[in-house]
């Protein structure tokens, strides 16, 4: 992380970041809001440095937040019409910790509305473009954050990952993307998608920055009962001697260049004396189905609060309560939001709960156990992040199942609460970024980051 100092002023860094933001914004549509006050904050940091006052570990570092983090800095929209006009009175714990270390917010980044999607095309404000190819998607749902880091506007950006929303856009844009162990970072103040799988994480240009950000943000928060006691500070990176690869994940449905990149990485590990273990994980093929039952159920529930009564958008064309609900939600949600609300309410409805939700919950337990068994045989698992590199804008928006299939390698981790890290692994002949995914047992975040560092050095 390049932090402000006597030689390297915060103002210069923030000015550069704002200039790049303004430059790229019209074409790439990265931000929902750009922070006009950023320079004032940078000046204050420079003043402190000049007068010898202490500054934080992120002093003057320009950063961006995905627009589903609450803070009284700009409107929190989650790229959704239904949150129009909503300025949060509270600040997300993660943002509070970053601000306390002197990081300077450059802007709020675009996402699929309520983080529902794998391309950032489901944003009410329009899609973010891929950093390497303007005709292709940024990935999603944290597309804006991935592109903001890839185009070197900010040194890091926050994201949320419910089923791959950090790892997939990171791989589409050639940056590092960490989805920590479930509960590592507080979810307080983050617009909820699916409570049991949502994770706060980061995009960076290198593994060291991820390490610092975890040091700063991980830890138990009394405001989030599912947050874990701070294991990160106490944990040590374990040496990685055995890396697992999943046999079923190497098949014809995966892009040839991604398979080649994985093979090349495996060979590279082999020659550096890492043992490669082939894993059979048959339960993982049920992960996508289980995920698209459990997650929509939680989405339907979590989005119930958007009723037009207390904040955000309210449809004005309503004459009674039922109308108000139907019109507000009908006009305020995107069609992908509605699709997931419908699926979620269906699987929770009386008579279907046992057949869908409970069964999916059982499948989830089987998946958790299968990972536990796999980690008896290896230290980490290496997989593709997604079956394809960044696809053309508009090519999958009308085929939700094809869009969901993009998540096939990323969602099993979320169901199991495991950490996953996207590491850049070259480009296709066309110049599109390829990323690979490192998966570890719960609480192995430091080992993942450390191993990524070692791989980078090799």
């Amino acid at each position: 992380m390049k932090i402000a100092s006597q030689e390297n002023s915060a103002v210069a860094m923030v000015k550069a970041a704002l200039e790049r933001a303004e430059k790229y914004q019209p074409e790439y549509h990265i931000f929902n809001w750009i922070n006009e006050q950023a320079l004032d904050q940078a000046q204050e940091i420079d003043r402190r440095i000049a007068s010898g006052e202490p500054v934080g570990r992120l002093a003057g570092v320009p950063y961006a937040i995905k627009d589903n983090f609450l803070a009284p800095l700009g409107e929190t929209t989650a790229s959704a019409h239904i949150l129009e006009g909503f300025t949060s009175p509270v600040t997300a714990t993660a943002v509070q910790k970053l601000e306390a270390e002197g990081a300077v917010l450059i802007g709020r980044t675009n996402l699929d509305a309520f983080a529902h999607g794998s391309s950032t095309e489901n944003s009410y404000f329009g899609p973010t473009k891929n950093s390497k190819d303007l005709s292709r998607v940024a990935g999603g749902s944290s597309g804006g954050s991935a592109v903001a880091v890839a185009l070197d506007i900010v040194q890091f950006a926050t994201g949320t990952d419910t089923g791959g929303s950090i790892r997939q856009p990171a791989s589409f844009n050639g940056v590092y993307g960490l989805k920590p162990t479930y509960g590592a970072i507080s979810r307080y103040g983050v617009v909820a998608m699916a409570s049991s799988t949502d994770c706060v994480g980061f995009f960076t240009g290198n593994p060291d920055d991820l390490d610092l950000l975890m040091e700063i943000t991980a830890g138990q928060d009394a405001k989030d009962l599912t947050s874990l006691p701070d294991f990160y500070a106490q944990s040590q990176a374990k040496p990685v001697k055995k890396v697992g690869i999943i046999k079923d994940f190497d098949n014809e449905s995966i892009d040839a260049e991604i398979r080649a990149a994985l093979k090349a990485k495996v060979e590279q590990l082999r020659v550096s004396d890492v043992e490669i273990v082939e894993l059979e994980m048959p339960a993982l093929k049920h992960a996508l189905a289980a995920y698209y039952i459990i997650v929509p159920a939680e989405i339907a529930s979590n989005l119930s609060r958007h009723d037009g009564i207390r904040y955000g958008f309210r449809s004005e064309s309503s004459s009674h309560l039922q109308d108000l609900y139907c019109n507000t939600r009908g006009e305020g949600f995107m069609s992908e939001n509605k699709r997931r609300i419908m699926i979620g309410n269906f699987v929770l409805s009386s008579g279907f709960y046992d057949a869908y939700y409970l069964k999916a919950a059982k499948a989830r337990t089987v998946i958790i156990n299968e990972y536990a068994k796999a980690f008896e045989k290896c230290d980490l698992i290496l997989t593709p992040v997604s079956p394809n590199p960044a696809f053309e804008l508009g090519s999958k928006v009308n085929d939700p199942v094809a869009m969901y299939l993009e998540d096939v390698f990323s969602v099993p981790l979320n169901l199991a609460g495991l950490p996953g890290l996207t590491v850049p692994a070259g480009q296709t002949k066309q110049g599109l970024d390829i990323g690979l995914q490192l998966v570890g047992p719960r609480r192995s975040d430091r080992t993942l980051i450390n191993f990524a560092k070692e791989m980078e050095e090799k």
Partner: protein, 473 residues
């Protein structure tokens, strides 16, 4: 010939817990006399990204409620979400315990000794309040998030009187356990009553109706009376009872149909992913049990043998009074003090004193002793008893109070004789003395009165009478 019918009644009761803060947030749980929406946090009005915290005091009070219900406490309980759209429910779901409640099976013992079984009881949050104006409605979320224990009985009651007794006994055990203020007028306890009737001897229950949100024992009784009568009339006419929720109209004393089973909402229950399971240890539970207070049934048997069932039941409505009687330990004292409680403290003009600290055991035992020894007349005893509640007096011992009031009875015969002699020497009593000597018994009363007056009321009247008779022979 009319058939015989047996009503069957089950009751669900919502008890608001008297925690300092709400169940899932840290704002004030007591909204009495507060502005609407002034006791509301971002968690309560369901801002996006807000997560519930869990009030450990609510867990503790739930365990106590479980003890009061003679119920098993589940070492692990979990929360679930119950979904419906209404402006009183900001999240669009209520956090409750559908599948793993904190309190398992138990029972409530009625004064008659009959036991009403409890199916289970669970912890959940209350909703807000709406008030409907002509063209708009107002939402007050002060109550949203107040912890509730919902107690679900088995259908063990078969008359309106039993239903009333059950709700009253439930109110007693919950207030004795200290889990709720028990203020029924303010909705601290609300009853949902399920009623059906079936032909006597039938092995099947009839179709039930439910009347929700009753907040007095009397109304529970009235509703059951009305519904039983209504349902029997329907059956007698050959019609069917429809399974539905009915509303109670206090003014007309009738119930009317509101919502049938077909229109009932599908609540789409699911496990609450934001709150990990609540785990308790045997040690924690035993620790709480050790400090658990006596329940009405623990007092009932002892008190009934001393003061009778009627007075016992009256006094059992006031936990501090029976606690105090229990402290006295002496049967004779219990009887006298119970009478003072009933005749003085529960007299309408004195009920405000029930909020004050009660006299100490020592003060009361001394009061009983002085009354027994005729040092205090029964009137003086009441007077001294009332002074125990006087902020200027309550810390003083009984004898001091009696002296300060000047109501100690004069039992010294020598002193009494002197007073009698003085009265008899008065010319004004001459005529009465002659009359008595000539056989007019009733003038004795006049003479006793004169002596009492001379003694400023402190003389023991029966002793005075004895002395007068002797002197006027």
């Amino acid at each position: 010939m009319t058939k015989e019918y047996l009503p069957t009644i089950g009751i669900e009761c919502h008890v608001q817990l008297c925690t300092k803060t709400k169940l899932f947030s840290e704002v004030d749980n007591d909204a009495r006399l507060k502005e609407p929406n002034s006791c509301v946090s971002p968690v309560d009005y369901a801002l996006p990204g807000m997560l519930p915290r869990l009030n450990s005091e609510a867990i503790r009070l739930s365990v106590l409620a479980g003890f009061a219900l003679n119920a098993e406490i589940n070492l692990e309980s979990r929360f679930d979400r119950k979904h419906y759209f209404y402006p009183d429910l900001p999240k669009g779901y209520q956090i409750t315990q559908m599948y793993h409640p904190i309190i398992g099976a138990g029972y409530v013992e009625l004064p008659s000794g009959q036991k009403v079984r409890i199916e289970h009881a669970h912890l959940e949050e209350d909703a807000g309040k709406l008030s409907h104006e002509a063209s708009y409605s107002l939402v007050d979320l002060n109550r949203a998030g107040t912890p509730l224990v919902e107690i679900v009985s088995q259908p063990d009651m078969h008359s309106a009187a039993e239903a009333r007794e059950y709700t009253k006994e439930l109110w007693r055990v919950m207030t004795y356990a200290g889990v709720t203020f028990g203020d029924l007028y303010n909705g601290n306890m609300r009853f949902d009553v399920n009623i059906s009737v079936a032909e006597t001897g039938s092995d099947q229950l009839g179709t039930r109706t439910e009347v929700k949100n009753l907040n007095s024992f009397r109304n529970v009784e009235r509703v059951v009376e009305y519904e039983v009568k209504r349902q029997i009339e329907l059956l007698e006419k050959g019609e069917k009872v429809i399974q539905e929720t009915r509303g109670w109209n206090d003014a007309t004393g009738e119930t009317t149909g509101q919502r049938s089973k077909e229109e009932a909402a599908d609540y789409r229950y699911m496990p609450e992913p934001d709150i990990p399971p609540v785990r308790l240890t045997e040690a924690e539970i035993n620790e709480m049990r050790a400090e658990f207070p006596k329940m009405p049934k623990d007092y009932r048997a002892d008190l009934t043998t001393v003061i009778g069932a009627g007075q016992t039941e009256t006094l059992l409505d006031y936990q501090p009074l029976v606690q105090k009687l229990d402290e006295l330990g002496d049967t004779k004292a219990v009887k006298k003090i119970a009478n003072l409680f009933s005749s003085v403290l529960l007299a309408e003009e004195n009920t405000s004193l029930l909020n004050d600290e009660l006299p100490s055991k020592e003060q009361l035992l001394e009061l009983v002793r002085m009354n027994d020894n005729k040092e205090l007349s029964s009137t003086a005893t009441k007077e001294v008893f009332l002074k125990f509640f006087d902020p200027e007096m309550h810390y003083k011992d009984t004898l001091t109070i009696a002296k300060e009031l000047g109501v100690l009875q004069e039992n010294d015969l020598g002193a009494l004789e002197a007073i009698v002699d003085a009265v008899l020497a008065q010319p004004a009593t001459k005529q009465a003395q002659d009359d008595f000597r000539s056989g007019q018994e009733k003038v004795l009363g006049f003479l006793v009165g004169q002596v009492m007056k001379e003694s400023k009321g402190k003389a023991n009247p029966s002793a005075v009478q004895d002395i007068l008779r002797k002197k006027l022979q």
